[in-house]
Subunit: 673 residues, 2 copies
């Protein structure tokens, strides 16, 4: 909603005597505050803006008993932790410092909003670095953003500071996010120019009271592009000196600057390997420039050369030998899986394979491969699944690629707010379950009345909790991956094979369908990617009979008539999974429909229409993949599967005109005869 419309609604509300605001999704899970709040809040005397924010939030929305906030030395709590306890005078929230009080306040308000009793507890975050990565370009577009343009208005900055920056900081702080990389990893050097650093500093000023540090994606060739040097070779002293001077310049403007995120020698980005140096040599050179100021380098391990036979092995091959070679303020940032944010991947074998190196995981909050902002795909189950394999304690930090844009509701799909929320909560506490998180988020955001029947709210919970598995089923079940349309990564194109394109950007590279079967043989008889995993797991994955079926086509080329655990053949099972994905979306539609009487009509309609799109898309995926793979299996689609209503040729004819920030809308055309 634009400001004018808000104003009109406000005036309308006054005229009609109503105090209710029309839903527009802009409030996220946060309270807008009540006018009649009578809670008694005692805060420490302080000029800290952070404490002021905590007090303001509590005054607006705290409905509990009287509450006292206190700064109190407690080495257990660290810089951000807090404690909730009772003394003779009543309920107390204490912390070592302002920020702990702010986090504690949001935690208490969460309990309040969920209608829970206040739990006395001590909380400290699992990681010191909990960052969102924005893939926002300086021209306002967002790579893989589906909620409008970038919220950073670089043209207005530094003169105009949008009130949205503060709203954004508030939302992040409320879920525990304490760092933001402002710009795309495919970075323009311009962000490091004096002109842009002045703009960045303005954003940092807004973020600071909310405990959020600003980071920047750095282009490794910046000394050449920006500094006029002839090289960016990390071992050339002039290059190191340029970075040192740049760091000094940044910290003068932003004393709490977080550091750099670097995508180097990946998908065309420059990097140390261009100068025959290692990733470690490149990362360390930059880290040393930041070190005196306390900054860090997050160095991405998302690399794959066109040369190697199996892309899934690349990052390991390139990074594992560098273990122990990185400085202590470098963290290697690794995507959760070895390929690229697919609906389901096994974890990247680099995790745990570099014991002398700090590692962090990079999750994707934006739904590049999960239906953009058209599909409900609650991602906490995907992330906790990762933690089932990779112990959270083995990681140094955590990053998520943001799903935020300048849409009124921030995330395009109203339900995608849950992923922003869940990422923050898991970054704070990776032990939380998907269900606990949805139990917090749902009532705060959907705002249904307290007397909403339990079967309705249970239905909504199930809708969210099952949604990611539904997407896996209708897009890429059983370990299939990268069947997406070239470019926009929205619809199915398992047939896509562009002449002259990189083979490892083409679906047939990944699914390897032929008359014998389906799947990529990464077992010991194939690319042997399994050998990159710890021995016991490797053995399990290597054997087609013990490999978990959700990964079977990731690791094996499976015969079409292979007997699955269900007793069905691979082909039948594949058909069943796609059908099940479609039916899951139908179930989600029914669960949402049952909630209609209890949900704001604008919100309900918005989600309902997107669910219809999701249902159509699920069928599109099902038909496209089954009709395509059927060419290889030569087997009939079983009777329990709804027969396709398009031919493969019709589906191949669908070409989406998707830009990188518009909500895509596939057209399922009938053919012209």
């Amino acid at each position: 909603m634009n400001k004018l419309k808000s104003l009109i609604l406000a005036v309308t509300a006054i005229l009609t005597g109503s105090t209710a605001w029309a839903y527009d999704g802009s409030c996220l899970w946060l309270s807008g505050g009540d006018n009649d709040n009578q809670a008694v809040i005692t805060v420490p005397k302080s000029k800290s803006p952070t404490v002021a924010i905590a007090a303001e939030e509590l005054n607006k929305a705290w409905h509990g008993e009287p509450l006292r906030l206190e700064i109190k030395r407690d080495k257990n709590l660290g810089n951000e932790g807090f404690r909730v306890y009772r003394d003779k005078k009543g309920l107390v929230l204490s912390a070592n410092n302002d920020l702990g009080l702010l986090y504690g306040s949001y935690a208490l308000l969460r309990d309040n909003a969920a209608g829970k009793a206040i739990a006395l507890r001590e909380e400290i975050p699992a990681y010191n670095v909990r960052v969102l990565n924005h893939w926002d370009n300086l021209d306002g577009t967002i790579e893989r953003g589906y909620a409008g343009h970038s919220i950073w208005n670089w043209n207005e900055l530094p003169d105009v500071v949008s009130p949205r920056y503060r709203e954004y900081a508030r939302a992040n702080a409320s879920v525990g996010i304490n760092g933001v990389v402002l710009n795309n990893v495919n970075a323009s050097s311009k962000i490091l120019s004096a002109e842009y650093l002045a703009k960045v500093a303005k954003i940092a000023d807004v973020f600071r009271p909310y405990g959020i540090k600003v980071y920047l994606s750095a282009n490794f060739a910046a000394p050449m592009q920006l500094g006029g040097l002839k090289t960016a070779d990390p071992l050339v002293p002039e290059v190191a000196a340029w970075w040192k001077a740049k760091a000094d310049e940044i910290y003068k403007l932003i004393p709490d600057f977080g550091g750099f995120l670097v995508k180097a020698n990946s998908e065309g980005q420059p990097g140390p390997c261009d100068f025959d140096r290692t990733h470690a040599e490149g990362a360390n050179m930059m880290a040393r420039a930041l070190k005196p100021h306390g900054g860090i380098v997050m160095w991405r391990a998302f690399v794959y050369s066109p040369a190697d036979a199996d892309r899934a092995k690349q990052a390991y091959i390139e990074f594992q030998p560098l273990d122990g070679k990185f400085d202590d303020n470098v963290i290697v940032q690794i995507k959760n899986g070895p390929i690229d944010f697919q609906p389901r991947e096994p974890y990247s074998p680099l995790f745990g394979a570099m014991p002398q190196t700090d590692q962090m995981v990079e999750f994707q909050v934006t739904q590049e491969y999960l239906g953009h902002s058209n599909h409900i795909a609650y991602l906490a189950p995907m992330w906790t699944e990762f933690f089932d394999y990779v112990s959270p304690s083995s990681l140094k930090a955590i990053a998520g690629v943001a799903n935020v844009g300048n849409d009124t509701n921030w995330t395009g799909h109203p339900m995608a707010q849950a992923n922003w929320y869940a990422f923050g909560r898991l970054a704070w506490n990776p032990q939380l379950s998907s269900e606990e998180i949805i139990d917090e988020w749902m009532p705060m955001t959907l705002n249904y009345p307290e007397n909403t029947p339990k079967e309705v709210t249970d239905g909504l919970k199930k809708m969210m909790l099952n949604s990611r598995e539904a997407v896996v089923d209708y897009m890429m079940p059983l370990g299939l991956h990268h069947l997406f349309a070239f470019g926009h990564h929205y619809g199915p194109e398992p047939w896509c094979d562009i002449k002259g394109g990189r083979p490892d950007w083409m679906p047939p590279y990944y699914h390897r369908a032929d008359s014998a079967g389906l799947g990529f043989n990464r077992s010991s008889s194939g690319s042997n990617a399994v050998a990159q995993y710890p021995a016991q797991l490797a053995k399990k994955l290597d054997n087609i009979n013990t490999c978990p079926e959700e990964f079977i086509l990731w690791f094996h080329h499976v015969p079409w008539d292979f007997k699955m655990k269900s007793g069905a053949t691979l082909w039948q099972e594949l058909c069943n999974r796609y059908q099940s994905g479609v039916e899951s979306v139908e179930t989600m539609q029914r669960q949402w429909t049952a909630a209609k009487p209890y949900i704001d009509p604008e919100l309900w309609n918005d989600v309902n229409e997107r669910l219809m799109t999701q249902a159509r898309d699920a069928n599109w995926w099902k038909e496209g993949c089954l009709l395509y793979f059927q060419q290889f299996s030569g087997m009939p689609i079983p009777d329990n599967v709804t027969p396709p209503v398009h031919t493969l040729d019709q589906l191949k004819g669908i070409k989406l005109g998707i830009s990188n920030y518009e909500c895509p809308t596939p057209e399922l055309l009938n053919s012209k005869r």
Copy 2:
């Protein structure tokens, strides 16, 4: 397939040593003949071209024992009947004349093709007049034709006589059709000009040996438009004289000319009422011109004025009082139902209500309201359903609006050939069951091998037999009618309400949906259309509790929560019927898929794609109607119904660009957000 392509295929077949012709649907249910036929056929010495045709057909395809054809006086057999019997010398086909032998030959070949034992029998047709009405315009377009342009090439005629005219005559004769009205009932006077009559005569010459008479649709104002008279008043002697002279002119060219079909004072056509004369006065005047030559007038009762409250009552009101006023060579031609060829209508109450007047039924073979040439809708069940109410013996003749065009396969949809076939067979013998007819047609046309599994052929039979009920269910169940899009009558537009349009051309006129319920109250408390039916039936229809449910919304405005026989409310039942229609098409898809190994691939693919369109359209109908009616019922769509994947607004946005002879292809678009 065009002739050149046929030639190329023939050459290819010779080169490859194959004798099989590629399927193109042009042969219909007829045999192409075998090269190795050794059957012994004896025919009477005769110069009759009809006997020559009979001999040729038998020589080509008769696989039975030796057969003797004889002309033999037998008053029981009339002009067209035949007898099959055995004497000491073997099997005999006898008839009063040439034509009987031809019909008998086709009957024997049918037995042969179906692999049946030869039944000894006597057959005479139920009606002397068994006509197809072509709604072909002189410019080559066809009103409500979905298989290409008209087969009559008026521009080439009389110089060029297409070989297709003979093929068409052969097909008609093979199923017993003995008359063809060449031009549209919305008639151009030009057809009666000397120029066109010369063309018509050429067609009549081709038809004659096949026993087929030519008829013409006559424009009542022809004396003015063509003759330059100032009036067409039937009581003005000059007008009558003009028609007499015209008849004489025609019979000079075409001695066996059948007569005129007239649409008068209906939908803008001129007629006797323009001159304050009755339909009888108009019809009789024309009949008297034809009478000396043995011609007849078929006078349509399809009339409805914009004035009356209930269109369903119009024809009865206008025609019933004229009973006994028509000359004996006039037949009143009445559509099967009182409105207009809907997927299901009760029979027109005019039938049986004019005991002193000859009546004929007008069926629609072309699928104007039944999915055009995209949907399988085998119509024999609809026509035999009519005969359940109206005794065939009460009728004088029978007409069907043709579904033939210049498509290679004649009817657009290959399975629509079955409707042409079934109409002819029922015109000959209305006692045949839908199943008997499909048992004849299916093996001859689909040409599957003899060892095709019975479950497969049973599936195909079910596919055909259930298809019309499927269409009723997904388009207009429970007596709903006229929910079609304006103009093309293809997709759903229950919401269609064009400002300034005739109310009785708009769906809301017919469905009468409101918050109280659904349906047109034609009971004694409403328009009282029920009173036009015989007393006992009227009583049954008048009572909402005894009215057959398939007609309940035709005769009653039924409350949404009315308890149906199933126990469900009207709303639930409506939802269930639409869902059932969609699922029926899915079942048809499965039945067709099971037959894939036994069916010519080109035929299989063609039908398969059309079934996919049908499945999409079924869903389009379901969603459009349920979402529209839900606005009135205010009730939720039950859980057993697949949730809609489009909003009502999206569906309202679908506008088809359908011309009157192209195969329509609706585009189910996603909305743009």
